[in-house]
């Protein structure tokens, strides 16, 4: 449930669902997000669900904080639509060409490469949110012994498709961008494709993702 609603500037509502990061709170956020998105309230435009917050932006020419707050407070998201989640397998190649931070991870986690991959692969991760850059999924939770801080100095360019870790989360860089997460491998799959306007992102909040290892040859032949 929403614990508190406040304003973020003069054109957005800040809905606070608590401070913890877990599936149950995040599922509430997603339920509200999907309910509001479907109802198309006049003036509401962008919605940004995250771990435990939902930001609702609106067009100040059409509505205002009081109206949107009143509307959101009276929504019944409890018995609304099921969050309609999918289970997806993402191929990942962890060959040394791609696992740019494996040495660093081995040192920080005090685990061997084999053990790190064993801990990471073939497990179910929950998609909490999409964002920062277009289509980037925030997946969790990693095992307790797999949690590393981000790089002290972020890379200027992280290659497209990089699968990377930080704290209890994994993500996928949907296109080349700056970034500071620990890179473990690379997926040949197009996780975000802006030419598909209806469904540009493969993974949606609420989905479950499993990483399956592929070899360098399989990686090279993947898109042929």
């Amino acid at each position: 449930m929403i614990k508190n609603i406040s304003n973020l500037g003069d054109a957005a509502l800040y809905c606070d669902f608590g401070n913890e990061v877990n599936k149950s709170i995040n599922s509430q956020v997603i339920k509200y997000f999907k309910t509001i998105k479907e109802k198309k309230f006049e003036g509401i435009n962008n919605l940004t669900p995250s771990y435990n917050k939902l930001i609702i932006s609106y067009d100040l020419k059409k509505t205002n904080f009081k109206e949107v707050k009143n509307y959101v407070e009276n929504i019944n998201a409890e018995d609304s639509i099921d969050i309609n989640s999918k289970k997806l397998e993402i191929p990942v190649c962890c060959h040394e060409n791609f696992s740019m931070d494996i040495k660093r991870l081995e040192e920080i986690l005090k685990l061997s490469r084999e053990k790190i991959l064993e801990n990471f692969l073939n497990k179910e991760y929950f998609c909490y949110m999409i964002g920062f850059i277009a289509g980037m999924p925030f997946l969790g939770d990693l095992d307790e012994n797999m949690r590393a801080q981000r790089l002290e100095t972020p890379r200027v360019k992280v290659p497209k498709g990089s699968v990377a870790l930080t704290e209890q989360f994994a993500n996928i860089y949907t296109f080349e961008s700056p970034g500071g997460w620990n890179i473990l491998g690379n997926t040949p799959l197009d996780v975000f494709d802006s030419s598909k306007e209806d469904k540009p992102n493969l993974i949606n909040p609420g989905d479950t993702v499993i990483f399956k290892e592929i070899t360098l040859d399989q990686y090279k032949n993947y898109n042929e």
Binding site: L8, G9, D10, K37, N46, S57, F132, T174, F175
Partner: protein
Amino acid sequence: MSSNYLDIIRPGINTTFQDKGRDHLYHIGIPFSGAMDNRNYLIANKLVNNNLDSSVIEFAYQGPHIKYSGEKINFAVTGDVIFSIKKKDTEIEGNSYESYQIENGDEINIISTNKSVYGYLALGGEFDLKFQWNSCSINTKANIGSNNGKKLDVGQRINLKKINSNKDIKKISYINTKIENIRVIKGTNFDYFSEEGKKIFYEKEFTVSKLSDRMGMRLEGPKIDNIVNTNIKSEGLIKGVIQVPADGNPIIMLSDHGTIGGYPKIGVVASVDYDRLVQMSPGSKVKFKEINLSDAETLFKLYEMETQNLISQI
């Protein structure tokens, strides 16, 4: 092949197609984009008898030098801009907020914006552009929008698919007012900062850094001290949010911002001041002034009425 087109002789520093932007895709990581200075965007379209949501060329600092080929067409420039029009035998200095007619072989040379950042070039007609999510707006970081999501380049040819039959020449007298005080509403993490830090935020002067672009404006000045946590759990951002990372220097989110961020939010720029905020060039001095939500709403209404008034006078 279109018979009406522009050739880019010099593209300028950051020249893109923009319109009203995209307002419903934050949840998949796609920001607003769109014209940075919305008022100047609307005026540009009205001056050339376009629909108000038509595509225009936005430039920053140095603009494009273009050569036009085709039948007669009107164009107008808005913003505080220095430009010239080259016809067969003459070259004249152009004025912003006034439309001109050009014909086959004429050139428009946008030399630079003057003590501001963004300017707009509208042509009386419709560019032949590929839209994504109902917008031509180019986001060069995500390569989204027309022109494959890239800024305009030298040697490029841009086709027009329509030229307005209404070729009335329009003019308006308008001066871009500068502001020294940016009005802000308290952010959701305001209490993360020390008493001294809060005082600095509202009382001291900050300088706009060179590291500013369509994604964000970085400010330099006295450090704002955080006493709670320099990171928060990542959450949504909107245009105008002022984040303060661990180094204590504020960053204001602008139209192409990342949709999610993990730095504490000390404030949010009031919508009324957004158009003028984005026009502050590197080296400009900024001071923040706190206002409450209801004043921010009223001020925006007045600003919007003024914009509508200006447009209806054209």
